[in-house]
């Protein structure tokens, strides 16, 4: 390692620390007493060190308030959406990539052209549809629209296309049916791609804001993202800064842990997703 390398690392550590600063500050504030925060947010070293220290904000969150409930909602919606997207995407992706049937090419184009349609272009008609069905304020209302987004089909289709043909052909010669090939041979092979898609979907579900905002109007069906938005507008008056920050930390914990454990997959997923869409 050359000397310029160490200078580079040292030089980049400063912006990297600055980048981390806002997050650190949130965590630090969440461990400080509300009475102190009402007076000043820069007790020790600009408030970056949580002194005076308290864990009361977190215990208060679980004692009163709806944060644990919202957290649970988010978990249900995110897991449900992930399983749903995996189910419809692997099946459709496999059929479009590996099977021969009439109208396959036009059907593939029709399926993938939906990639062009942003969520914001359909959320109003979706809202009226779900209102007609009387579906708002329910878990399925939060989950279903994402299952129609073809990004998962696109990812699985690309993955299945890259698998060599002879694997299937050998099984076919043994007389194995198409559905069995899909279930017993292709799905196990597809685990890495499914993992990427699962993480992409989970991140999206956990962080989604616009659709829950219009669909879930009752606080019992808020996701944590939505709930946090509802308490942040009046943080100073009601809940106290420390508690709102603690909610923010709780809301971020699952995705940050997911990211730190499965970093490679998360990076792959976000690259594949192109954006947060």
């Amino acid at each position: 390692m050359t000397r310029s390398y160490y200078w580079l690392i040292l030089g980049l550590s400063i912006p990297a620390f600055l980048w981390l600063l806002p997050t650190l500050w949130m965590v630090s504030l969440s461990f400080q007493p509300n009475e102190v925060l009402a007076r000043t947010t820069s007790s020790t070293f600009f408030g970056l060190v949580p002194l005076p220290f308290t864990a009361e904000n977190y215990s208060a969150l679980f004692a009163f308030g709806q944060t644990p409930w919202w957290f649970l909602n988010s978990l249900i919606v995110s897991v449900g959406m992930t399983l749903g997207v995996l189910a419809v995407s692997t099946t459709a992706g496999y059929a479009l990539a590996r099977l021969d049937f009439p109208f396959k090419t036009p059907l593939t184009i029709i399926c993938l052209i939906g990639l062009m349609v942003p969520e914001q272009a359909v959320f109003i008609p979706l809202y009226t549809m779900f209102a007609d069905f009387g579906w708002h304020n329910s878990y399925h209302a939060l989950i279903l629209p994402r299952m129609a987004v073809p990004i998962g089909v696109f990812l699985m289709l690309q993955f299945f296309r890259a698998i060599p043909k002879d694997i299937e052909e050998a099984a076919r010669l043994d007389g194995v049916g198409w559905l069995q090939i899909f279930w017993y041979i292709m799905l196990p092979l597809a685990r890495p791609a499914m993992m990427t898609l699962a993480i992409l979907t989970f991140l999206y579900a956990w962080n989604d804001y616009l659709w829950p905002l219009v669909s879930a109007q009752q606080r019992e069906y808020f996701t944590i993202t939505l709930g946090l938005a509802s308490i942040q507008s009046n943080f100073a008056q009601s809940e106290g800064l420390g508690r709102v920050m603690a909610s923010g930390v709780i809301a971020s914990l699952p995705v940050v842990i997911l990211f730190l454990i499965f970093q490679r997959y998360v990076v792959q997923a976000m690259t594949a997703g192109g954006s947060k869409g």
């Binding site: 390692m1 408030g47 990639l115 272009a121 219009v214 923010g248």
Partner: protein
């Protein structure tokens, strides 16, 4: 394999395909294709959310009137009304022609720059003439704010991500840790990001204000000052979405072969020189892709404006998606909101097509 054979049913390939496709086609048709066309349908109606909810017949078909109400006005004329933007457009046209001539831009990028400049010459030229007015005075300024947001956030993200990627393109542990630190904020939700930055920017409690005061400065009221509100949400956005751009650039850098750098090093091109003469030209397509992706992403901005500034002060951070949301769900005018959503789709769709073309070229 024996039990597989035993349990196999006689099913043709076509049947299997349709069976496997059915779940996706069902949700796709019901929750994307149908709503998409229904959105057009709604945009052709005078459709009040509450009235139609009580009585499904309370909507009235009015053709394209909603589009007119949103985008047009009385006595609209065209002329050189805003010299700055139109002048910039003329400059852009000249620049694209010149850069193409000296071969610093790919043909694709030159055309893109040219079309964008042409739009800059044409669009700001529309203005209400004497006794005229826009039917919706807020719509075009809102579009303008959205474009300004895109114009600030996209270069901000792209340039910083490009430099970071070039600097952190290595296999060492330290570089990996630094990459992780820069990427971390990317996985947070928009509400967490806005929560953090709302308080960061607060003139009374904010970290920025605290530091400014310590050094004897006067804290700025970022979020309620017309001059700084847009800058504030742009800063929060750059902080939030730098990671994905950096990762895309890193992937692009991996594709440049080491040989080119070695050859360049023989010609004494190292460090900054190598970056300018080797990295940048070889990365041009990735840069275009990242820019287009960022445009698509940031054009949909909603949460930052909705949660940090509520579109204010004085509408300076009002953006298109927030205006659609408000028109639809606060003012209950679903017809007009849908017309704006169609407008949004046309713009985003155009950029999606461009993204698709670039992706194709890359293969």
């Amino acid at each position: 394999m024996q039990d597989l054979k035993a349990s196999k049913k006689r099913m043709s390939q076509t049947q299997a395909a349709w069976l496997l496709l059915a779940p996706f086609l069902l949700t796709y048709g019901l929750f994307l294709v149908y709503p998409f066309f229904r959105g057009f349908w709604i945009s052709l109606h005078d459709w009040n959310l509450l009235a139609v909810a009580f009585n499904p017949d309370a909507k009235e078909f009015i053709g394209l009137r909603n589009y007119e109400r949103v985008m047009w006005g009385r006595n609209i004329e065209w002329g050189f009304a805003s010299p700055f933007w139109q002048g910039l457009g003329v400059l852009g046209l000249a620049a694209s022609a010149y850069l193409r001539r000296v071969d610093r831009l790919s043909r694709f990028n030159a055309i893109a720059l040219g079309v964008a400049s042409l739009l800059l010459v044409v669009l700001p030229g529309f203005h209400p003439g004497e006794e005229g007015r826009w039917y919706d005075r807020r719509f075009w300024p809102t579009v303008g704010n959205t474009l300004l947001f895109v114009a600030l956030a996209v270069p901000g993200v792209t340039i910083s991500a490009l430099f970071l990627a070039a600097a952190l393109n290595g296999e060492t542990r330290a570089m990996g840790v630094l990459r992780t630190l820069f990427f971390l904020s990317q996985v947070l939700s928009v509400t967490v990001v806005t929560l953090i930055w709302q308080i960061m920017f607060s003139p009374r409690q904010g970290l920025i204000a605290n530091i400014t005061e310590t050094f004897g400065g006067i804290p700025i009221n970022w979020l309620t000052d017309e001059q700084f509100a847009m800058a504030a949400i742009v800063i929060a956005t750059i902080w939030w979405s730098l990671g994905i751009a950096m990762i895309l650039f890193l992937a692009g850098l991996q594709d440049i072969s080491k040989d080119i750098y070695e050859a360049a090093a023989l010609d004494n091109a190292k460090g900054v020189k190598a970056f300018w003469f080797v990295t940048l030209p070889n990365l041009q397509r990735t840069i275009t892709l990242v820019v287009v992706l960022q445009i698509i992403l940031h054009f949909q901005v909603f949460g930052q404006s909705h949660l940090m500034t509520q579109g204010g002060p004085n509408d300076t951070t009002q953006v298109l998606v927030r205006y659609i949301y408000q028109t639809g769900f606060r003012d209950s005018e679903l017809g007009r909101a849908s017309a704006m959503a169609v407008f949004l789709f046309v713009i985003m769709g155009t950029f999606s097509v461009i993204q698709f073309i670039i992706g194709r070229e890359k293969e």
